[in-house]
């Protein structure tokens, strides 16, 4: 409808309508300005800092150019081990989240009644709001030597993993699980029911249907969820502080150096950037990023 009261606005509108490019630039300019101006510039500066040095006494940063920080990381086995361990943890957490999300998602989408389904969808979202630190500390109490986990397992003659690597993996899985469960559930709901029917009409068994029909269709959702579980695990340092006992993660080392030796912290930050970058690059071709 023409809005005659605002001729300028109208003229602008017509001009924009005639020029889709202009419209596109109009839409994109603000988000891009923000992402470039705020984020990419900061990241770039961080990368530049990685080539600087620090005065060993005052911990003041001295601009310059040296690859010493990177050489240091690449030649120190503890940094390499820590990086490898962190990537391993991130993969394991992602895998566990996916393994748990699949049956839960199928149950919610294909077994539960509509009422239950909505209730369950809320139930898996709620813990996201409950406060990261509080959940981490709850996990710490759970895994303690005399904690609830051992208390429950004791009658069966078992004992829990205690603090350490398994506790870190389980805690991170617990923390990030909703990020995987929600997209997987949504994706299972969107699979047309007749696809299942067709497959089972052709005589395929339940597990075969899941493996050959459901899983491939779920890949994009799983990958989308995995971007969260993987990268959130890559950067965590608080969880491991509470349940890790002796486990050192990349975040721990970065955090230890962030004030004391910012260039080394910056150089160490390149590791998760590269790891996540490679991961994103690998999954981009699946088109999953659009599902995020």
């Amino acid at each position: 409808m023409h809005d005659m009261r605002r001729p300028t606005a109208h003229r602008l509108s017509t001009a924009l309508h005639a020029r889709p490019r202009l419209r596109l630039y109009g839409l994109l300019s603000l988000p891009l300005l923000w992402m470039f101006g705020v984020y990419l510039v900061s990241l770039a500066m961080l990368l530049v800092t990685a080539f600087w040095t620090t005065d060993p006494f005052t911990s003041k940063v001295i601009p310059g150019f040296t690859t010493r920080n990177f050489e240091n990381i690449l030649t120190t086995s503890s940094y390499l081990n820590t990086a490898g361990r962190t990537v391993g943890i991130a993969f394991l957490v992602t895998l566990l989240c996916a393994v748990f999300a699949l049956p839960l998602g199928i149950f919610m989408a294909k077994v539960a009644s509509a009422r239950w389904r909505n209730f369950l969808a809320m139930a898996i979202t709620l813990p996201l709001w409950a406060g990261y630190l509080v959940k981490v500390f709850a996990m710490r109490i759970s895994f303690g030597e005399n904690g609830p986990v051992n208390w429950l397992l004791d009658p069966f003659g078992l004992s829990g993993p205690g603090y350490g690597l398994p506790a870190v993996v389980l805690t991170l899985t617990y923390l990030w699980f909703p990020f995987m469960a929600l997209p997987v559930y949504t994706a299972i709901r969107q699979i047309p029911p007749n696809l299942f029917d067709a497959a089972s009409d052709l005589g395929a068994g339940t597990w075969r249907v899941i493996r050959t029909v459901v899983l491939p269709l779920l890949m994009p959702a799983m990958i989308a969820g995995s971007v969260f579980t993987f990268s959130l695990s890559m950067g965590d340092f608080i969880g491991t502080q509470f349940v890790g006992a002796k486990v050192q993660m990349l975040g721990t080392v970065i955090n230890q150096n962030v004030n004391l030796n910012p260039p080394l912290a910056a150089a160490l930050s390149v590791i998760p950037i590269v790891a996540v970058g490679l991961y994103l690059f690998a999954v981009r071709r699946t088109g999953a990023l659009k599902e995020l």
Partner: protein, 396 residues
């Protein structure tokens, strides 16, 4: 005997000489101990209150009753002086140093591992002691330490101190240990149940142990380690790593580690032991220990110098110093904070506040720097950065 008691004067003299002697700023001069400290004047005299003061503090040092109605020594200060207190909690010494450099803060409650860095970085100014009349009441053991007292000038007003003690579960540890060997030696009966501190500064704890048990290494100050000595300490820490149940940095985690039975012995603070209560005990072992001591430091260019000085004196007076130290759980710096009430006396008794013999065995955290602060000039000592890298290798 502790080096501080015997040679503090000597070091102070050397510092003074160095400061007068040269300004070439590279440190490590072969002729002696030398700290190139930027020349920053102390505040002249007290003027009008600016209306606010910005403080970075450890949790529990600056309380206005909002967290705990029983802990409030800010409201009265604001009412008396008109200075509103803006507090930022510092989580680590490193973070405090960084925050101080932002220029947003007037005061910081710096621990010994931060103070030398702040002084050398030109981030803090010397203190005009004339403006802090209560300074005179402070216990001797806390005045004139190397980490806050350079070139004959005071840079810090002491707040309190504490020792890193050996804490144990009395049920699990039947004979109270009197040596740190239960946390370091592979044949420790508590292997697998030992808690250790999670910070590069913990290397000094290994050095204290080596000082007594490996005299051949020649360690005379746990914060002055040459690279061979650092390697030996790191070796010991790596050996300990397989005995450790977990490392703690947050006080909560120490408490829950002992309460849940995950750890039965290890390094801790008196205040943690108090929270644990019955069934747990602690000692200062024969080797002595490390410890920490905190001081107020004032920014080199404070925006609110008058309010800052008002806070310095306010917080140093006996009642307030007593309140801070009791709230935080440490020995107060002001000797008079140990008098006046049974509560004050009992608190000082627990924390050995005026017991200089106790603290003579305690090596307060000091930033390790390349110059050896034990006076050696023929070697280069290792800096805190090297300690941090070494620490990453201990935890692997």
């Amino acid at each position: 005997m502790h080096w501080r008691a015997t040679s503090a004067a000597g070091v102070a003299a050397a510092l003074m000489l160095a400061a007068c002697g040269g300004d070439d700023g590279n440190g490590g001069d072969a002729n002696g101990f030398m700290l190139d400290v930027p020349d920053i004047p102390a505040h002249g005299e007290l003027g009008e209150a600016e209306g606010e003061v910005n403080i970075i503090a450890w949790p529990g040092f600056v309380e206005d009753g909002s967290n705990n109605p029983d802990a409030d020594w800010v409201s009265e200060f604001t009412a008396n002086t008109g200075c509103v207190v803006n507090r930022r909690i510092g989580e680590t010494s490193d973070q405090m140093v960084t925050l101080m450099r932002s220029g947003d803060y007037d005061l910081v409650s710096a621990s010994g591992d931060a103070s030398l860095r702040l002084i050398a970085g030109g981030d803090v100014a010397p203190i005009n002691l004339d403006l802090v009349p209560h300074f005179g009441d402070l216990v001797d053991g806390m005045k004139g330490q190397i980490y806050d007292h350079v070139n004959g000038e005071a840079y810090g007003v002491p707040i309190g101190r504490g020792a890193n003690i050996l804490q144990f579960n009395s049920d699990a540890v039947e004979t109270p240990p009197n040596s740190w060997n239960v946390v370091w030696e592979p044949d420790s009966p508590y292997a697998g149940d030992i808690i250790a501190y999670d910070s590069p500064i913990y290397i000094a704890d290994a050095a204290v142990y080596l000082m007594h048990h490996e005299p051949d290494l020649g360690i005379t100050n746990p914060y002055a380690l040459d690279s061979d000595q650092l390697d030996a300490a790191v070796e010991l820490l790596k050996q300990q790593n397989s005995l450790v149940s977990e490392y703690w940095a947050l006080y909560t985690n120490n408490v829950s580690s002992f309460q849940s039975g995950t750890s039965v012995v290890g390094t801790s603070w008196q205040v943690i032991l108090n929270v644990l209560g019955d069934g747990y005990d602690g000692v200062l072992p024969v080797e002595g220990s490390t410890g920490w001591s905190d001081t107020w430091m004032i920014a080199a260019e404070p925006k609110n110098p008058n309010c800052a000085y008002m806070w310095l004196d306010w917080s140093t007076q006996p009642e307030i110093n007593a309140a801070i130290s009791q709230n935080f759980g440490m020995a107060p710096a002001n000797a008079l904070a140990c008098e006046g009430s049974e509560e004050n006396e009992a608190h000082c008794e627990i924390y050995h506040a005026t017991d200089e013999d106790y603290y003579a065995n305690v090596w307060f955290w000091t930033t390790p720097i390349e110059q050896c602060i034990d006076g050696r000039t023929d070697v280069r000592c290792t800096s805190y950065q090297e300690w941090t890298e070494a620490w990453a290798s201990v935890k692997g």
